[in-house]
Symmetry: C2
Subunit: 481 residues, 2 copies
């Protein structure tokens, strides 16, 4: 991983002094702190900030933002550092606000099925806290991300097919604006038509319009019965068709995950498991005991009609945890396929009817790739990922991955889909926004950004295209690719 | 109903001539046309526009908006005219764009469970069109509103407890902006994290940021089994508790509607029915035959524990239609309680745990009202309406209703709720936004409005508070009430 801009910006020394006078040791400038905060979990290079401020309250975040504003310094929010498109890269230096010490679970309302947390609470911390209430928070992007980060990037994951994404599950936010104003974007009422939907405006805005410091989330009762199963197929198309037909039949599956033969090989090797190394669907069903039985029976018939076999059931919590743990650590299992390599995860999402076409079209190109490529996805939503297992020090491989990614994005957009189903834009995907949304819609986004952040200090270079995207070999224009 | 500003604005004569040269007879200036378009279905007085343009395409809407912009004239979109908070009142005159002739169902994708319609299609027209596909669109505000209007006001209704509101069921929009630019706000992909959520920004913006001309909606499979039931209780509190406990138990009820004894009396009289004239819950369950059975059994136990009795089941489609038809024409049944009167429907929504408190607190005041007051609601969402059946020509009654409404809104906000669960803001509720959202959040809304509509021509005087709210006896400040 290449560290860039490692020398702090001298213009910001005064700012760092002021921040230190407020935060003491919680304003850190060591190379280790700065480098750690300059990257997420992807192939993107490191861009360290000039300093890292560990905030502990909304008021502290507001104070830091106001100081940064006075010094015209970029502000980059940071949660668990699990983002994949360079969201936390300090492209122009500036101050990283690390929210991980804002770990308070502020109010659980079991009778209203909601909870309010500080932005630094992770989803696993929340679910551990909720354990005795009979409730859980379902959105599960795999990584143990912070809930503030998940809201800021509109995350989703394996459960979204049943429970929705962060868009659907955030009731309200506390946000610090670019001028330090603190706002609350909604109430705990389940629905409202009282004015513009500020909650949804900030969900997915990736710190470019404001910094999310508190999140009010919907909760769900832990289902009475849960059952999981793994079923393998002779080819990816049959597995995808099974997922599509299950959704179209109205089965409320809680999760339906596709893993191709290479994923299964990686999982077996990494976890010492012995699944058939063939395209596979991982299912989970939630409901009453009879309801779960009905769902499984319907899906079983659909799978059989598509040639599915080798059903393996996991009904005990231990078996299910083992199964989903293997699915969740697939990122690391993939990397183990090629020691020293990094993973580049693509993220297309298309209308369900186009999913089989999109996957088979792109796999025609990836078959000839010079590096391993896995195919996996949340296929009930039409969302899938290719995993490029590449040597990022090999420019030819990076260029090849880049070209495949552009080809995939173009195909997804042609098929009525999106360049990113759940990973977000960061700066890795911003150049695709015009192709997806059109110039007019991107101009609206630009007007919103200018209205709420006229100085352009909030996570600059992210989301919106054309704002001095860094030249690092990955930034060719979509049209020119 | 008082018609105001009936004389057309002379400054707009040139504009009307230009519009007529484009639209011919579809630019109407008759008093009948103008008065009809100056009001919705509520107690608010009529404010007629200077002319009504019947648009037939997105391009025509864009052309009309560009002409209005050049003449600095207000533009007010109009669907079916069923809104309740003065959304369509031409407070400052201007041009009403009637979208009801934009009735095209542009694309049904049964395999993707989505449809794209022009804004003027009503929900009943859409469901009639879908009949043979096995799919339906669930959001049901009672009135046969246009889908464009429902998106613009973030409508919901009886089904929202299971299927969500327009916020959850709009996938994408075509919008004409204040400068005539046409944008598309999303794709047909089920989820996306590609930039700011423009779809949700325009949903609920009530024509103040742009005019919605096409809507892409989620569809659902018609459930295999549907069952409805009516159950009466000795008091409103017991009925509300039954609804709350059913939701908290995780029963996926499709509808759960509260009607108090006066509502039931109105329904019996209006429809020649003979339900017990006691607080009543109307339920509907959707699912597999066994699933529906399980749901009904669970709710039955909860109702019995709360003293519920007189279960009447409606399992055939005819019986169900009769039942829900009676619920849906409650507006007219209420009016028949007092011939010549109008209905003022309040619209509070609070966290579920506060619903019983909110209803019983406000009913303590309405018991002494000098006019009939009904209580009804979508209680599974924490949303309920009081129906004030008033003589709008009697200023004392109007003032009394006004004071009760303010008291209700204040109590709902104190209890963590919203001033409007589903009716929207229009100009009737704009003065409550600061109390609900705080000054900072309202200022963000104002910045968004200024960014997208710098001339202030898009449905002026709506949503945002303080923009010359008309003085008509209903506009006292919340703090001063």
């Amino acid at each position: 991983m290449i560290a860039r801009g490692s020398a702090p910006d001298h213009h910001l020394q005064g700012l760092v002094q002021e921040l230190t006078s407020v935060l003491g040791e919680r304003c850190a400038t060591s190379a280790a702190d700065r480098d750690h905060h300059g990257h997420g979990e992807s192939y993107h290079p490191t861009y360290p900030p000039d300093a890292v401020c560990y905030a502990r309250s909304t008021d502290e975040v507001a104070a830091i933002v106001m100081l940064c504003r006075r010094h015209d310094a970029p502000v980059i929010p940071y949660g668990a550092g699990t983002s994949l498109e360079g969201h936390v890269a300090a492209l122009r230096g500036g101050i990283c606000i690390d929210l991980s010490q804002m770990g308070g679970i502020l109010a659980v309302h079991p009778e209203d099925l909601d909870v309010t947390v500080q932005a630094g609470v992770t989803r696993q911390q929340l679910n551990a806290h909720l354990r005795d209430t009979g409730l859980f928070f379902p959105v599960d992007p795999g990584a143990d991300a912070t809930l503030g980060g998940m809201a800021a990037t509109r995350a989703s994951g394996t459960n979204a097919v049943r429970y929705g994404t962060m868009r659907d599950n955030v009731l309200a936010l506390t946000v610090v604006l670019a001028d330090g104003t603190i706002i609350r974007t909604g109430t705990r009422a389940r629905k409202s038509s009282a004015g513009y939907d500020l909650t949804r405006l900030f969900v997915g805005s990736e710190g470019t319009l404001g910094i999310i410091t508190e999140v009010t989330l919907r909760l769900y009762g832990i289902p009475e019965a849960v059952s999981a199963a793994v079923c393998s197929f002779s080819d990816v198309g049959s597995a995808v068709r099974t997922a599509i037909e299950s959704i179209q039949a109205g089965v409320p599956v809680a999760r339906v995950e596709l893993l191709d033969d290479l994923c299964m090989r990686a999982i077996n090797a990494y976890n010492g498991m012995s699944y058939p190394e063939a395209p596979t669907l991982f299912f989970e069903f939630h409901g009453t005991p009879r309801g779960v039985e009905e769902q499984a029976a319907t899906v079983g018939e659909i799978a059989a009609a598509n040639g599915g076999g080798h059903w393996q059931w996991a009904s005990s919590a231990e078996e299910r945890n083992r199964l989903w743990h293997a699915r969740h650590n697939l990122h690391y299992a993939q990397l183990a396929l090629r020691p020293g390599a990094k993973s580049w995860g693509t993220d297309a999402c298309v209308p369900l009817s186009q999913l089989a076409t999109c996957i088979s079209d792109i796999r025609r190109y990836t078959e000839a790739a010079s590096f391993p490529v896995t195919t996996l996805g949340h296929v009930g939503d039409g969302n899938f990922h290719l995993g490029f297992i590449i040597d990022t020090n090999n420019p030819a491989e990076v260029r090849e991955a880049e070209a495949l990614n552009v080809r995939l994005v173009q195909r997804a957009i042609e098929l009525g889909g999106t360049c990113t189903g759940e990973h977000g834009v960061g700066y890795g995907k911003s150049r695709f926004l015009r192709a997806e949304h059109g110039e007019g819609a991107v101009e609206v986004m630009r007007l919103l950004k200018a209205a709420l952040d006229p100085q352009g200090i909030m996570n600059p270079g992210k989301v919106l295209p054309g704002e001095s995207t860094p030249v690092d070999g990955l930034s060719r224009n979509l049209d020119g690719a």
